[in-house]
């Protein structure tokens, strides 16, 4: 009892069967049949972006704030190539995205036709998997399989390239239950013997630490609940990567704050000095490890990850556990409880005393000012004035992103959307649009720098058209702040092209789009201005003029280990050696 329909109709039918409610896209010649089908139905909402890159970032924001896959529909050629940055971003941060691209008709493939590009070739290294569908009979099954691949195992972006003649031709529709999913079936249950060895190590450990990443959030709500239970029951300290913020509440008393290059002093020193490191869904990124040879030199390391290629990639671990975080934590808690809930209480008490000493360093302290708005102060006030709201934060990339990670606090997962692995300037604004689409009544704020924000500012049109009241909180220092900071530390204060000249008047820009613009430069006015932004029912561009030469601390200089952090006010001249300067 297969239904016969056109390929274009099949796309809409398959998306509906997959429970898709929103598609972010941009039409063009090679997807016109699909757009014609979208026009003739009301179940799937289409959000017209102003640039295909923004469609993918919006889908990422949607996916990360809901746990559901984000869907993108773009045309062939430039539509597809514009999506490449978003695909790479989603691949690096393991975000489930399904991108549908139009393609020139099969009989024209290879002829350098108008708006032809080798889309599956171009996107092969930046997708988890991709398909070129040449037969309408295979189309619906391929779409169902694409959703399966994108959302299972380590999530990631997938792409389906659909030639225009395949969209016009008729074929038989296969519904998801009858679709062949192939052999792709990632392992989710961890090895019980390895988990038991980890429990034994946890019972003995004198200086344990949980080091958690985005994998905990990707694993789902069960994983974050189990993590919370495990941390509370054991009393072990916990730190997280940029991607994992919110998996354990920042208000929890076991929370050490973010670790890594701009992570907290206590978190990094605890990583350096621990005797048992329990990595849950993080990947020993170079922003985390610093100098590999000196990374946490005296610890036993356990690593739970669903991706076998993440284990032993850069750091050799003693206890590799392949599996889904929720499944592994469930077994871990069960075994630990059945063995009598043992921990090394004396060792833990001393360990916490040491951590409390490190906390006294107060590594996020900065020189306050009554004349200019310090970016840290702006974020502290934003935190204070928004923390009781149903709040979602996205960011762009740079200093403001690190300050946001340091000063904004997340008590729940899926509230923090940032471009971690790829570091994509221009991510935050479209991501905020995707988040707001999924949470229409929530307060969605994009913490931005003025340079990043300009990279996708065209999306003001999208926000206005779909009445998405996203707040663009721009920390405007008229600089590429992080680039400027590195030039100060590494390149003899030669600030090559790191300042923003000819900036627009952001208030007038907002007004040109029909939105509200607010500018603030006086710390005394900041609270009122932020409240005005929160209370305005519609998109706001908030131009927060901040101190121009503030550096982001703490900082582990390139190529240095965790115990060689720079704190604010340190003499930073020549802090980074020639070898470190090679790094980004």
């Amino acid at each position: 009892m297969t239904k016969s329909m056109t390929g274009a109709r099949m796309v809409v039918e398959a998306l509906r069967d997959q429970g898709v409610e929103v598609v972010f896209g941009y039409p063009g010649g090679a997807v016109l049949p699909i757009y014609d089908e979208i026009f003739q139905q009301n179940e799937i909402r289409h959000i017209l972006v102003r640039h295909e890159q923004a469609a993918v970032h919006a889908a990422e924001g949607y996916a990360r704030s809901t746990g559901k896959p984000g869907v993108v529909l773009v045309t062939s050629g430039p539509g597809a190539t514009n999506a490449v940055t978003g695909l790479t971003d989603a691949l690096m941060d393991s975000i489930p995205i399904v991108v549908l691209t139009g393609q020139v008709p099969t009989f024209m493939i290879g002829t350098d036709a108008f708006q032809e590009a080798d889309t599956v070739g171009i996107t092969r290294p930046c997708t988890k998997h991709n398909w070129l569908v040449k037969d309408t009979d295979r189309l619906s099954e391929t779409i169902h399989k694409a959703f399966h691949v994108a959302t299972t195992g380590r999530p990631g972006p997938v792409l389906i390239d659909i030639p225009k003649d395949v969209q016009f031709a008729s074929g038989s529709y296969t519904d998801p239950r009858r679709s062949e999913m192939g052999h792709y079936k990632p392992q989710v249950k961890g090895d019980i013997e390895m988990i038991t060895r980890l429990v034994e190590a946890m019972e003995q450990a004198r200086r344990p630490i949980f080091y958690t990443g985005g994998g905990v959030i990707n694993s789902g709500d069960a994983a974050t609940q189990l993590l919370h239970e495990l941390v509370e029951a054991t009393g072990f300290p916990i730190t997280s990567t940029l991607m994992g913020l919110g998996a354990y509440p920042a208000s929890g008393d076991k929370w050490l704050g973010m670790l890594g290059m701009h992570g907290l002093y206590e978190a990094n020193l605890a990583m350096h000095g621990c005797d048992l490191m329990i990595n849950l869904g993080a990947r020993f990124d170079d922003r985390i490890t610093g100098r590999l040879a000196d990374f946490s030199p005296n610890s036993m390391k356990a690593h739970v990850d669903i991706d076998p290629s993440s284990i032993n990639k850069v750091i050799h671990v003693d206890l590799p556990i392949l599996g889904d975080i929720a499944h592994v934590l469930e077994d871990l808690l069960r075994i630990w409880k059945s063995r009598g809930r043992k921990v090394n209480r004396d060792g833990l008490a001393k360990w916490w005393a040491k951590i409390e000493d490190w906390k006294k360093v107060d590594c996020l302290a900065y020189a306050p000012s009554s004349k200019t708005i310090k970016p840290q102060y702006a974020l502290q006030r934003l935190q204070a004035l928004t923390k009781d709201h149903d709040r979602y934060i996205t960011t762009e990339v740079g200093q403001h992103q690190m300050w946001a990670a340091q000063f904004l606090h997340f008590d729940a997962p899926k509230r923090w959307m940032t471009s971690g692995g790829l570091g994509t300037m221009g991510y935050g604004f479209p991501a905020s649009i995707g988040v707001q689409m999924a949470h229409r009544d929530a307060l969605v704020i994009n913490v931005a720098g003025e340079a990043s924000w300009l990279m996708n500012m065209q999306e003001m049109g999208t926000a206005m058209q779909f009445n998405l009241p996203v707040k663009q909180f721009i920390l405007n220092n008229e600089r590429l702040g992080m680039v400027r900071q590195w030039q100060e530390l590494l390149h003899g204060e030669r600030y090559s092209h790191s300042w923003s000249e000819s900036l627009p008047d952001f208030v007038k820009l907002a007004e040109a789009f029909g939105a509200k613009g607010i500018q603030c430069h006086d710390p005394a006015d900041l609270d009122d201005a932020i409240m005005e932004m929160i209370n305005h029912d519609g998109p706001v561009i908030f131009d927060c003029l901040v101190e121009k030469h503030e550096n982001c601390f703490p900082m582990i200089p390139s190529g240095a280990p965790h115990n060689e952090m720079l704190l604010g006010g340190a003499d930073t001249q020549d802090a980074i050696g020639a070898k470190g300067a090679v790094m980004v």
Binding site: P125, R291, L567, A578
Partner: protein
């Protein structure tokens, strides 16, 4: 705020130095990868090697199960033990890859390569080429008054050795298939 005293200029490695100081031994491994025989699957495998900077010493691919649409890719690669492990994990992550076997560590295996050699010459050189070909159990598959094409199957080292011997005798062209390998026993 108390500033930490930073030891300046001590950075010996960048954070991108992925080498394991304890495992600098470069090993050669033969991998057998069973994949769906679909468009682009070879590009995925090759793209993985070029994109992540791994070596390919030899690569062969052909369909081995027509009904099951399965192909077998045999790759000879070189790297430190950590890199070899990473290559296998990365290959396993490719969606159309069914199995990854490291024949070098999974037990005894047989490796064979087929090669064709065109040797041109006259007089004593021609006679010597033919004599050596018999010693190496190479077959003559084409012959003119001025040339031979020899066909030979064997371990890559044997093919290398034969090529070295033929070079002064008028070797003008070589075609090699790359290594095909199977585990011994059942």
């Amino acid at each position: 705020m108390s500033a930490l005293r930073l030891k300046k200029g001590l950075s010996k490695h960048s954070a991108y130095d992925l080498r394991d100081p304890n495992a600098e031994v470069i090993e050669s491994h033969t991998l057998a990868v069973i994949v769906d025989n679909e468009a682009g699957v070879l590009a995925r495998v090759i793209g993985l090697f070029s994109g992540r900077g791994y070596n390919i010493e030899s690569l062969t691919v052909a369909e081995v199960d027509h009904l099951g649409h399965l192909s077998r890719i045999t790759i000879v690669t070189k790297g430190t033990p950590q890199v070899i492990e990473q290559i296998k994990a990365q290959l396993g992550r490719i969606v159309p890859v069914h199995e990854v076997h490291d024949l070098t560590v999974e037990g005894p295996s047989v490796e064979r390569e087929l090669a064709l050699f065109k040797v041109a010459g006259q007089g004593d050189k021609r006679i010597e080429a033919l004599r050596l070909a018999e010693i190496f159990r190479a077959n003559v598959v084409d012959s003119t008054l001025e040339s031979f094409v020899f066909e030979m199957t064997g371990m890559p080292q044997k093919i290398d050795a034969f090529a070295d011997l033929m070079r002064p005798l008028g070797l003008i062209e070589v075609a090699r298939t790359g290594v095909a390998a199977l585990a011994r026993g059942t």
